[in-house]
């Protein structure tokens, strides 16, 4: 395998050397496009509306939305900034008015959340993204109990502040994920919400890390379903063992899992007779938790794995989040980044935060229906065939 890598490198060098220098030839034939006057247009805006604090440098830092904004500013009458600003303010006021009315009509309870959760698709137009937003809303509302700050009732999170005015049920008993065992499938007073302990999963335990271990940040990459485009192998397997592997400098830098494959769901290449995979993953260090590694797969547990090929085996497609776990009850525990899989049958699952930087402990969902795997396979195939544009 290393020889192939060297070959590839040699090939690249060869092709780079063979490439001609054409820049001067190209440059002299480039023509100005006067219609591309975004900068000039924005400068004009800055002069016209200095009070808006339009910052040209910020605007051109590379945000996608900025380009759209520039396009709007460039546009015709109705999209002039003052009109846009006014329209946005009106829309926000209407939204707040409706939200307030809704809160007034119904006390803040998780029953309401369930209602929204159940009808979310219709309410939000049935788009996948809307489902995700609904799910996130449910989670954040439920988890508000853990984050209520004493008398002020200040709730962290982006959507929570609007909701703090209304009293909520006392959910503090659920903080930490240890409900009374007698509660059954659904936590009392919190329909659609489950706790990890109700799923009969083994306690999370990670390997201990030597001080010199090379780790990656949990936020090195943001999950989006488009990432699934790069899935080369989607399979179900049970972790037989996990160990640390050093990098070239001898410091532990990878987790290596030995995983017998139970079934192959999707594969881009050769799969017949695939009985076993060795999967590598960078180490995500937990900050301030009892365990030292985040999102480590557990020995004996089964997972649905999105993998891509690496030099000497396979690697996790997205190691910065929990993998999809198959529960002993036959359900699928997945994080809310899989927005299009979060249908109205999904339960919100709340667990123990494994570190200050564990941002998924309250963003897990459970589906127990038989369609989950086929939905996931469809998602992966759609992403692949649409080049990640789903």
């Amino acid at each position: 395998m290393r020889r192939i890598s060297r070959l590839e490198q040699e090939y690249r060098n060869l092709k780079r050397q063979a490439a001609p220098d054409l820049w001067s030839r190209i440059e002299e034939r480039l023509e100005e496009h006067p219609e591309r006057s975004v900068i000039r247009g924005e400068q004009r805006l800055e002069e016209e509306y200095p009070e808006r604090g339009l910052n040209l440098k910020q605007r051109h830092r590379g945000e996608k939305g900025n380009r759209k904004a520039a396009g709007l500013y460039k546009g015709k009458g109705i999209f002039r900034p003052r009109v846009v600003f006014g329209a946005a303010a009106s829309a926000a006021a209407i939204f707040l008015f409706m939200a307030a009315g809704s809160w007034y009509d119904e006390p803040r309870s998780l029953v309401r959340n369930e209602k929204i959760f159940g009808e979310g698709s219709e309410m939000l137009g049935g788009e996948a993204g809307a489902d995700w937003e609904t799910t996130a809303f449910v989670q954040e509302t439920y988890l508000a109990a853990e984050e209520i700050d004493g008398e002020n009732h200040q709730i962290k999170g982006e959507t929570a502040p609007q909701e703090t005015a209304c009293p909520g049920p006392d959910l503090s008993a659920y903080a930490g994920g240890n409900p009374p065992a007698s509660e059954g499938k659904k936590a009392e007073g919190a329909p659609g919400v489950l706790l990890y302990s109700q799923l009969e999963l083994a306690d999370y335990q990670s390997l201990s890390l030597p001080a010199q271990a090379v780790t990656v940040s949990e936020d090195a990459m943001y999950f989006s379903e488009e990432i699934l485009e790069d899935t080369e192998l989607l399979c179900v397997g049970t972790v037989a063992s996990v160990s640390l592997e050093p990098d070239d400098s001898g410091c532990p830098a990878f987790l290596v899992y030995e995983i017998p494959v139970d079934s192959v769901c999707y594969s881009e290449t050769y799969t017949t007779g695939l009985a076993y995979v060795q999967v590598k993953s960078p180490i995500v260090r937990a900050v301030g938790g009892h365990n030292q590694i985040l999102y480590q797969m557990q020995v004996g547990a089964s997972y649905v794995l999105s993998l891509r090929s690496a030099d000497d085996g396979w690697e996790l497609l997205f190691p910065y989040a929990p993998q999809i776990q198959v529960t002993p009850g036959g359900g699928y525990l997945f994080h809310s980044g899989y927005g299009s899989l979060a249908d109205d049958s999904a339960f919100v699952v709340v667990g123990q935060q494994e570190g200050d930087n564990d941002f998924y402990y309250d963003r897990m969902l459970l589906r127990e229906d038989g369609d989950f795997l086929s939905d996931l396979i469809s998602l992966v195939m759609n992403q692949s065939s649409n080049g990640g544009k789903g």
């Binding site: 020889r3 192939i4 070959l7 590839e8 040699e10 090939y11 690249r12 060869l14 092709k15 780079r16 063979a18 490439a19 001609p20 054409l22 820049w23 030839r25 190209i26 440059e27 034939r29 480039l30 023509e31 100005e32 496009h33 591309r36 975004v38 900068i39 051109h60 590379g62 996608k64 380009r67 488009e226 485009e229 790069d230 080369e232 881009e268 290449t269 050769y270 692949s384 065939s385 080049g387 990640g388 544009k389």
Partner: protein, 173 residues
Amino acid sequence: MNDQQFEGNIRRICQNDKDGLKNIYEDYCPMIFSAVFDILKNREDAEDVTSEFFIRLWNIADTYRGGRGHRGWLITVARNMAVDYARKKSRELPAGEIREDRQEKSSAEDRVLCKLSLEQALMTLKEEERQIVNLKIMGELTFREIARILKKPPGTVAWRYRTAMEKLKEVRL
């Protein structure tokens, strides 16, 4: 260059900033040139099409839709241009002349390439294998992206790639 950086450069182009194009050119000229050369088999023609490609990129940057996989997009545009160029040329010149021209240039290439063993080894590959190897290594595309470009099943592409790499390895042993 990742997708974000590429989009940043496209935005610069959309502001008439030539440096945006130059950044893309510096990173991708070898990739585009080799993809085009694979089709045209003629250095002079490949240089023309590569130049035209970057000029066209400058002109059509507004139409680029962001997302992942900009390399695949670049290569697709470049290959289409090369194919158009070859078609146009085949209409202008008698077929025999084109073949002769290609053969001649190919021989000239051979003489240069034979100096390097990897280039010798590449000559042992079939046309399609060479294209797949080039798209995979220079384009850094996934098998699925290559499959879309070449209109072949992904499994076939992966298989051909592995076969080609094995051949190269064997030839060079």
